[in-house]
């Protein structure tokens, strides 16, 4: 049988991250992939309502406390292996996980994105 240990860093507890949940997909404009690109702007109104601007869309969301918190785990699998990952662990390079962060709340954007039209030509 396999035993995989999950540990948290010694000292203070894990950091707290925020989860942002979107309905649908985010794609990059020129299909260049998402990594390294600016996704958008996150604003909060005076009432604390989160507002997300992605490209030319604007989304309104809300902050929700997670009933079931998340933990983010980082996997450490010893030496890199060329073969496919299997449940079997090599005794000298056992797989383990560390808890990177806890997530206790999220910003969820469920409303339909509205396009922002900045140039409305005036009727002549």
């Amino acid at each position: 049988m396999v035993q995989i240990v999950i540990s948290s860093k010694a000292g203070e507890g894990p950091a707290e991250w925020l989860l942002v949940e979107l309905q649908g997909e985010v794609v990059s404009r020129q299909n260049t992939g998402l990594a390294g690109n600016l996704m958008g702007d996150l604003h909060y109104t005076k009432e604390g309502v989160p507002v997300l601007i992605v490209g030319h869309h604007i989304l309104y969301g809300k902050q929700v406390k997670l009933e079931k918190p998340f933990a983010v785990l980082m996997k450490h699998s010893g030496l890199p292996r060329d073969e496919e990952e299997t449940m079997e662990t090599n005794q000298e390079n056992p797989t383990s996980y560390t808890v990177s962060a806890l997530i206790k709340k999220k910003l969820i954007f469920k409303t339909r994105p509205k396009p922002i039209i900045t140039n409305v030509p005036k009727k002549v």
Binding site: E21, P69, F70, A71, M87, E88, K105
Partner: protein, 354 residues
């Protein structure tokens, strides 16, 4: 390369969950997650929503209330995912524990110059490697099955040997005219130490009695009448398929130590009464001999008997209840009820091959 995997929990206190966590499982088993005293099922769940992880991103309540100048903070999205692992608390799979220990039960020290016959033996670490449960759950179950640690290995006692030890103790209690609740450890060890290892005598007292100290600081045991009578019943019942109930009750009462009362309610989860047959009968049916999986357990029970009253079936399904689930709820889910002779009975929802 580092991979990340969000886990969802429903644990009351997130922080306390993360002390010493281990994922356990064989290739053909579903993985479970254990901390020191609990076991959880691990299942992958996915969502059509996109989950973005933003370390250190602040929410309005965490930002200072400066309406003067707008603030610009750069936050990086660490990653995103469509799926996560969900944890669901479940009862630990412990049937394997007894099965492993029964590969080589202990029936007393080796006789004369002989060494104990070779056979598989398991340390606690060995058990943690093989059983999908937390350490505390394993320790509690070891106590339930009356296992003891001998030379670093956890051993289950051969039942006849266990009853032999108990017999020595109860005979001594009788000859010394002690009260069942005042059995002194030191005298037991002195008088019985020549017959059996002292550690075994003490183990027997721990299994069948409650340990305490009297005013003089001596270690005393209060024998548990229910446990002693129950074990005696098992010894009698395992010798035949079925017994005439009234004959059994007579023999049973005569076999328990004088002064103890043998009562049928002591046999819940151990024996099954058939009050519909003439004469009424009783037979051995131990919950630990039944399947661990809920559906298989119900199938097994309904193959043994077509219709059960709630009172009869309850001891055999009690351990299947999830957190906050009642046996009534379990029966509603897995059985069909009807009324027979004015009594509510349960039968299988599906046809059972008997």
């Amino acid at each position: 390369s580092a991979k990340y995997c969000p886990i969802l929990t429903n644990h009351k206190s997130m922080e306390s969950l993360f002390i010493h966590l281990i994922i356990r499982g064989d290739k053909d088993e579903h993985a479970v997650l254990c901390n020191e005293d609990e076991t959880y099922d691990l299942k992958i769940a996915d969502t059509s929503n996109l989950l973005l992880f933003v370390p250190g991103c602040k929410t309005p309540d965490q930002l200072p209330d400066i309406s003067a100048s707008p603030q610009l903070v750069h936050a990086q999205i660490w990653g995103f995912s469509n799926c996560y692992w969900e944890l669901r608390r479940q009862r630990p799979r412990l049937k394997k524990l007894k099965k492993l220990l029964m590969e080589n039960p202990y029936d007393g020290p080796a006789v004369g110059m002989q060494e104990e016959a070779p056979g598989p033996k398991y340390t606690m670490d060995d058990l943690l490697e093989r059983i999908q449960a937390s350490r505390e759950e394993i320790e509690a179950h070891l106590q339930n099955v009356h296992a003891c640690e001998i030379d670093g290995f956890w051993r289950i006692l051969d039942f006849d040997y266990e009853m032999k030890l108990l017999g020595h103790v109860t005979q001594l209690v009788d000859s010394e005219s002690w009260s069942f609740s005042k059995v002194p450890l030191s005298v037991c060890l002195e008088e019985l130490g020549s017959l059996e290892p002292k550690s075994m005598i003490e183990h027997c007292l721990n299994c069948y009695g409650r340990r305490y100290s009297n005013e003089d600081g001596q270690v005393i045991y209060a024998l548990d009448e229910d446990k002693v009578c129950r074990a005696t019943a098992q010894l009698l019942l395992q010798n035949a398929v079925k017994f005439n109930l009234s004959e059994f009750q007579e023999v049973w009462q005569q076999s328990v130590p004088e002064g103890m009362s043998a009562r049928l309610d002591q046999l819940r989860g151990l024996a099954l009464l058939d009050r519909s047959s003439k004469p009424e009968t009783i037979s051995l049916l131990r919950i630990e001999d039944l399947p661990e999986d809920t559906l298989e357990r119900f199938n097994s029970l309904f193959s043994l008997r077509e219709k059960w009253t709630q009172d009869d079936i309850e001891p055999y399904i009690q351990d299947l209840c999830g957190e906050k689930q009642t046996t009534g709820a379990l029966l509603t889910k897995h059985a069909r009820s009807s009324v027979q002779n004015g009594v509510k009975v349960y039968n299988s929802r599906r046809p059972i091959a008997t």
